[in-house]
């Protein structure tokens, strides 16, 4: 299936999202509140359900967080990226998709560990790598005077 066709199909099921051709793969940008619904729509997309969540991660843009979901359909081998912005950095909450892809449970734990984004309805939201009182190291404003030696640029 061509990318344009796929994008049309996605636009049909996710009318509230912005579907565009990213630098490599089709991108779907949805509001953070609609993330779970959009994910479910993609997971059950007609003809080519995106059943394989390759990757889930986030990035800190100092004024907002963006969460990324890379998913592939194992039938058509198309890859799409689902994105959502979380504006509230101090109290970042987004709904979990671990009920759709079980692997997201662990990706979300990692994102929570490193960014401090909370996932609503997550079955077991604990820190994955770090201690409970450690900061959220992948936030851009994270400072650790003890352990990190800044290199002169």
């Amino acid at each position: 299936m061509e990318n344009t066709e796929l994008m049309e199909l996605i636009t049909k099921v996710i009318p509230y999202g912005t579907v565009s051709q990213g630098s490599q793969y089709p991108e779907v940008i949805v509001p953070a509140g609609k993330l779970h619904d959009a994910a479910e729509q993609l997971r059950n997309l007609e003809g080519q359900p995106f059943d394989y969540l390759i990757n889930m991660t986030a990035a800190d843009f100092t004024d907002k967080f963006t969460v990324y979901y890379h998913m592939e359909s194992t039938q058509a081998h198309n890859l799409v990226v689902l994105k959502a912005d979380i504006a509230d950095r101090d109290n970042a909450v987004v709904e979990t998709v671990s009920d759709i892809w079980v692997t997201a449970e662990f990706f979300e734990r990692e994102v929570f560990d490193l960014f401090g984004i909370r996932f609503k309805n997550h079955p077991d939201l604990r820190r994955l790598f770090l201690e409970d009182d450690y900061g959220f190291p992948l936030r851009k404003d994270f400072k650790d005077e003890v352990n990190i030696i800044e290199l002169p640029n």
């Binding site: 490599q24 059950n44 969540l53 990757n55 991660t57 990035a59 890859l79 009920d99 790598f129 992948l138």
Partner: protein, 376 residues
Amino acid sequence: MSKDVIKNIIVKDDEDYIINMGPQHPSTHGVLRLEVCLNGEIVKYVIPHIGYIHRGIEKMCEADTYKQIIHLTDRMDYLSAHMNNEAVCLAVENALQVEVPERVQYIRAILDELNRLASHQLWWSAFGMDLGALTTFFYGLRDREKILAIFEESFGSRLLHSFNTPGGLMHDVHPNFQKHILEFVKYFRKKLPDYKNLLTDNVIFHNRTKGVGVMSPETAIAFGVTGPSGRGSGFACDVRKVAPYGVYDQLDFKQVLYSEGDSFARYQVRMDEMEESLNLLEQLVAKMPSEGDFTAKMKPIIKLPEGEYYERVETARGELGVFIVSKGEKYPYRMRFRSPNFSNLFVLNTLSKGLKIADLVAISGSLDLVLPDIDR
């Protein structure tokens, strides 16, 4: 379809008989801690605890140039160091739309396969040891030594050879490179029957692995279990076939798929992949241009255009993804590695539930986990 969702079920009880396997345990290859709940010999649930060697590679990448990132990726999955390098290089090259010389692509593919072979050999050794056949460890390492000697000759180091650089390679390969590879292929073909007699055909080995830790294709997809572990369940996830990179679309090889999904199927996938890799090596050496540049022209300071880039390669353990968010600077704004072992590890609970503690060892061995890759 979403009604029969696969879940990771853990039911805790106050009277659980908890036993910790790891972080210092002979069968967790690395510092993995498994919190195992037992009922006699039967496993009730397994909770993996990771993070003992979390080095924050993703954070470190944010302060490194793209050339400097390469040497960090070696240290994630140290057994497929070359593939990790290649993933970053491919991401950078694709973002910059650099045409990499053909010779480089062939050399990279050769190194991929050599690295895959070395990794599978080590896995075979360690898997035998997990099951109590200590001799396999020495035979596997003996043969792996030959590959490491080839690496050492060309790159100067045996395990962590940061040999790739965005745009090409650090050096040209050693003049004896092709000759030694062909010698190795011949040598290893002769040794494979030993592997078969020692483990593959062994009746005890069959009993220990057949029907143990059966993973359905749905489970594999839902957990994102890729690589040989996923292909043992019939999940066609070989990135070399699904989304070919380098010269893989010009090569004749097949994706090894087994449908049983048990530990023995995962074992068989890797054994078949070893032979497949040997075939590939012969093809690659024959097709490889004997002359040519070893690197494309690159600017001394590499700056990726603003945007998001995602690149996938097939490592010895599954699909490695490199995700770069660039803001047009010489450092990546956000770098993310989707490591195959991360997803492969967490299926352990589902697979080993209701089986015996010895099976847990067999399953974790058959998943072929490398801990530094999980923790990053």
